[in-house]
Point group: C2
Chain length 332, copies 2
DNA sequence: TTGAAAGCGCTAACAG
DNA sequence: CTGTTAGCGCTTTCAA
């Protein structure tokens, strides 16, 4: 473990000079600079980020907290967050809270003890009351895609998907295809905004949304909910599920009932997980702007860290309709 | 930012005493200990992990390097690695190398500069030649699920799946069902061992593996490869794909050809990604022991870190056949 | 252009 | 039981 002191000794100068040379400052003569750089290379010098962090009060590390990376929604986001961080010379500590407030708080405390430069927190994985004090003491924080039934205080920087618009896009698509008998499978209350956007759009078209089934963002719950819907005498001509994962379950239920998609019934998802493009039929869905979300949130955090960002209004990114083959005009 | 010095001043003792009290050592009188703890709480004291790390040469952090977390194979593993780490009071720095050696090396350098206590490296995401010097200088390292066509030097601790066995299990299953005309879609050379195990088992049964299609672990490549196989006059009665993801593509190709699974053709995957259970029909597959892999590798790393583990032979974890509905006896 | 010195917050001998 | 002291490796004034 070579230190700048070792180099200084070897070259015959002081630590300060070595530090200056290594930092590329212009107050070192070209001759000594070369000798120092040379020597550093030979001795395999590697700056100590801990010591630097302690002295400069900056660690070039970010805390990234989420419910669980095993949820297929997050990996793509995590990848992008890490990419942006890396491009700015930061590294990322990944923390799964597993929706456990105690665990979340423990992680938070540790990150703060580590002097991470900022925190990116997704999906309501932490209590706001735990976050707020740290933010108020100057720790940069960005909240991303918070649970739809919670609204964090406006002081906290936020980046989110416009879930209400997502629901509206879904409804609009089905209406334009001519559907009038429409059902929804939704995870309430976590998907409250998607539902609200969907329902309101139907209302505007003079339709009442009556067929609502509760789901839990699992394939199985999508399957069970669809079963219920298909058993009704007034079977709907279209089903909107508030997540692609539930749509997969619904798809299986529909097939089992001997019905065909989209001929007998249209199916519309929301998320655009990788899989949806490869289902049979390929799933029409409302695509969430995952990459933009990750990038925007991370860049906002970095700007805060670098003091270039004082306040910011919550940022809302638009989803987009992605038409594939699981929706069509109703046949009856 | 309260420090132990602040507390010491407030209570009227020295840093040492505060440190001892906080560390729960028994060389502090109950009275002063209480006053110290009380005061620490009131002042919102939070230990500084950087300073501690610098002094003790230990950071309670782990570097976790992988090709990309967006590959659906990794999130479950990352979750488990992080869980184990967390249970031992470690946090995890996640680094995607994107199969870019330069990027991988940059990450590695930074992690080393950060004095991480150990490195868990998956899927050949780094050049062995970059890793080795650090390991030899005492940095704990564990390699996990290395690329099958590379064999890292035995000195490096390794945990891997027994991919040869995985291939053998696949072959055995199809043979037992009575298949004699068997094809494989494989990503060579990265899945070399899976293929070898498969081929050898067929050989032992007196069969020559002749139908081999190259795939690239994407749905599309599985689709294209299956198309080729189905167009042959000697169409096989069973197809083994060396990843579930390719099986999904094959499934679509088979459906398009108007054939039914498993009646006309059996399909066998390998991985057991979440999705496979929900396909139509549910995919029979060779399940990889992801959790065991993550847990074993992390625990091995932690034991190295704590100096409880000198050397270890490469550990090989067994996969298991998971019979669902995509395989059956050949009908002709 | 170079150096001396103090400090970041905590640990760890060792002495009293 | 408590205190003194000397680091850990680097940054950052301020002098020379």
């Amino acid at each position: 473990m070579t230190t700048i002191y070792d180099i200084a000794k070897a070259v015959g100068v002081t630590q300060t000079t070595v530090a200056n040379a290594l930092a590329g400052r212009h107050n070192v003569s070209e001759a000594t600079r070369q000798r120092i750089l040379q020597c550093a290379r030979e001795m395999g010098y590697r700056p100590n980020v801990l010591a630097r962090g302690l002295a400069r009060r900056k660690t070039f590390s970010l805390g990234f907290l989420l419910p669980t990376i095993a949820n297929p929604f997050y990996p793509e986001i995590a990848e992008e967050v890490e990419r942006v961080a890396q491009q700015h010379d930061y590294q990322m500590l990944l923390c799964n809270t597993h929706y456990d407030p105690a665990l979340g708080q423990q992680h938070l405390e540790r990150l703060v003890s580590r002097w991470v430069d900022g925190l990116l927190i997704m999906g309501s994985s932490l209590d706001i009351t735990c976050i707020l004090p740290h933010f108020q003491q100057g720790l940069p924080v960005v909240l991303c895609d918070w649970q739809e039934n919670e609204k964090p205080p406006a002081v906290l920087p936020q980046v989110s998907t416009d879930f209400r618009l997502a629901g509206a896009l879904a409804a609009r698509h089905l209406l334009e295809l001519g559907h009038r008998s429409i059902a929804v499978i939704v995870e309430e209350p976590r998907h409250a905004l998607r539902l609200a956007g969907f329902r309101d759009t139907l209302h505007e078209a003079g339709l009442l949304l009556e067929l609502i089934q509760q789901g839990y963002s699992t394939v199985e719950s999508g399957y069970a909910a669809a079963k219920e819907l298909l058993a009704r005498p007034d079977r709907p001509t279209a089903i909107f599920t508030t997540s692609d994962w539930m749509a997969l379950g619904a798809m299986n239920a529909i097939r089992e009932a001997g019905l065909s998609i989209p001929h007998d019934i249209s199916l519309l998802g929301l998320d655009n997980i990788q899989l949806s493009a490869h289902l049979h039929p390929p799933l029409t869905t409302i695509a969430l702007p995952k990459h933009a979300l990750a990038r925007t949130a991370t860049e906002l955090l970095l700007r805060q860290i670098e003091g270039k960002q004082e306040q910011s209004d919550p940022i809302l990114l638009p989803p987009a309709l992605l038409v594939r083959a699981s929706t069509a005009c109703p046949s009856r």
